[in-house]
């Protein structure tokens, strides 16, 4: 799914500006940003529910979606929605094909109940199942675990991961629950000032933030940069903070090679929350991750 140089204006206000992104089938990409950053607008453009914009979106894919709150008929049963939104697209809804998913999401036994009797979490789950109808190549989900308890959220997230892994569905997901994003995403995009302000990959080699304090002044920052050791986040007279995937042994070897004495060493795993806070609170004043 390729989105290229997207700009969206509402009157004089520019919501998205020259935004480009790409995500693939089988990949789960998180989208985070402040309220009003343009996440929903971007998702609506990707799903073509907004038609007026500049730039291009590859539109040769089947895209399922749940944006903002689930759109349902309150006087109709859950099963009606699944049958109807398959049927009007020329497909026949086969309950057997979705039984496992519906059971895992605890929707199977309430399918004949009217949606107005559903809790917010159940409506969200039904909205997610609707987004999966008609075999989409991609799905776009805006706050999918909204209104769900911890246990239910986990079930939904596990199902999404399974969709990506087993059915090769590409998923773009936005949420203010950073732990949800962190739990299932391959990478996260930070939306700020109408464009992709940064990107965080969740690699197998997990990145850590190391803080090293020495007994005398040394230009470690230059050394670390030259050695491509990681990204220097902060450099003081006697201390340095580096984001790196290097092992502790490699760190100590570097310190030994410089001939300085290390008096304190802390390693902190970088969480999405810390990255997000740094990004949007501007603690590190950087633009790249």
């Amino acid at each position: 799914m390729l989105i290229n140089m997207l700009t969206k204006r509402y009157g004089n206000s520019i919501v998205l500006k020259d935004l480009s992104l790409d995500f693939n089938q089988g990949e789960i990409v998180g989208l985070i940003g402040r309220n009003g950053a343009g996440k929903s607008t971007l998702m609506k453009i990707i799903t073509q529910t907004i038609q007026t914009y500049e730039g291009s979106v590859a539109d040769n894919h089947q895209v399922g979606y749940l944006i903002e709150e689930p759109k349902l008929f309150s006087n109709k049963a859950g099963l009606f929605h699944l049958t109807y939104f398959s049927g009007i697209y020329g497909n026949t809804f086969k309950l057997s094909e979705y039984e496992r998913l519906l059971r895992n999401l605890q929707l199977f036994d309430v399918l004949n109940k009217k949606v107005k009797e559903y809790s917010l979490g159940m409506r969200q789950k039904l909205g997610i199942v609707i987004s999966l109808l008609n075999n989409p190549s991609y799905i776009v989900l805006d706050e999918p675990t909204n209104g769900m308890d911890v246990e239910t959220s986990l079930e939904v997230l596990q199902e999404l991961r399974r969709m990506a892994d087993e059915r090769n569905v590409g998923i773009l997901i936005s949420s203010h629950k950073l732990e949800d994003i962190e739990a299932i995403c391959n990478r996260v995009l930070f939306l700020g000032d109408g464009t992709i302000a940064g990107e965080q990959h969740f690699d197998k080699n997990e990145q850590r933030t190391l803080t090293l304090i020495f007994d005398n002044s040394v230009d470690l920052a230059t050394f670390a940069s030259k050695q491509h050791f990681g990204r220097v986040v902060h450099s003081g007279d006697k201390d340095i903070q580096i984001e790196t995937v290097a092992k502790n042994a490699e760190i100590f070897e570097m310190v030994n090679r410089l001939g300085v004495r290390l008096i304190d060493f802390t390693a902190e795993k970088k969480t999405l929350r810390s990255v997000y806070m740094n990004k949007f609170r501007g603690e590190y004043h950087d633009t790249q991750y």
Binding site: Q48, T49, Q51, K71, L72, F73, I88, Y89, G90
Partner: protein, 241 residues
């Protein structure tokens, strides 16, 4: 994912049948005409077959316009339209599909009206029931239903609330023509008189069940229908919900 016009139409026509709105609408159309027939046959009133037709259209046309708008109202008020408005093609297909539903409803009301007129004629109601009258009646019902349906659709597209849309349609179908008729009676300006006479908001509800329209009125009616359809289509292609 392309919206199937056939499937959408079939699903929703079945829905109209299942939820009983179609039957209630037809009863609303037929009951006044049946009561009128009873009085003509038993009370020797001076009314004839054209009065039966007019009484059929009185509430019948309102029902025939409101029935296909049920889906537009439902989809826009619940915002489920956003599950359909996911490509230009699907936006167009949705307009076409709902147009076909309105067309189907207008055909149903035409057929029911013709059957009702033939039955009442056979029962002895006076008046000529010529082929030209029946043809005019059929075309009038089709044009009226489609025109007012598209007008109501346009109101929904511009965000007018359902209560207001139904209120406006009821007013312009049932009361507005009467007011214009009274204005015609008191004005002496021929141009203004002709203007009202050839205004679709007047001639459709006033003449739908009583007379075929003039060639000029049919021309104006067709042009109005085309303009409304194009505006609805263009607005639907761009609308954000």
């Amino acid at each position: 994912m392309t919206l199937s016009i056939n499937k959408y139409v079939i699903y929703n026509l079945k829905e109209l049948l299942k939820n009983g709105y179609l039957v209630v609408g037809l009863l609303g159309a037929c009951v006044p005409a049946i009561i009128m027939t009873y009085y003509i046959l038993n009370e020797s009133t001076p009314f004839n077959i054209k009065h039966i037709s007019s009484f059929y259209c009185m509430l019948g046309m309102l029902a025939a316009v409101l029935l296909p708008l049920f889906f537009i109202n439902r989809d826009y008020s619940t915002k489920t339209i956003s599950l359909i408005n996911n490509s230009v093609q699907n936006r167009r297909n949705y307009v076409f599909a709902n147009g076909i539903i309105a067309l189907s409803v207008s055909l149903l009301y035409t057929m029911t009206g013709i059957v009702l007129l033939l039955v009442t004629k056979a029962l002895g109601v006076s008046g000529d029931l010529k082929l030209s009258f029946l043809a005019g009646f059929s075309v009038n019902v089709f044009l009226l239903v489609m025109t007012y349906f598209l007008f109501g659709y346009l109101l929904f597209l511009y965000g007018v609330r359902s209560g207001a849309v139904y209120g406006i349609l009821t007013a312009i179908l049932l009361f507005f023509p009467n007011a214009l008729f009274k204005i015609q009676g008191i004005i002496h300006n021929e141009f203004l008189f002709e203007l009202i006479e050839n205004f679709p908001g007047y001639f459709y509800p006033a003449k739908v069940g009583s007379n075929p329209l003039s060639p000029l009125q049919y021309s104006i009616g067709c042009l109005t229908l085309i303009v409304l359809f194009v505006v609805v289509l263009k607005k639907s292609e761009k609308i954000e919900v």
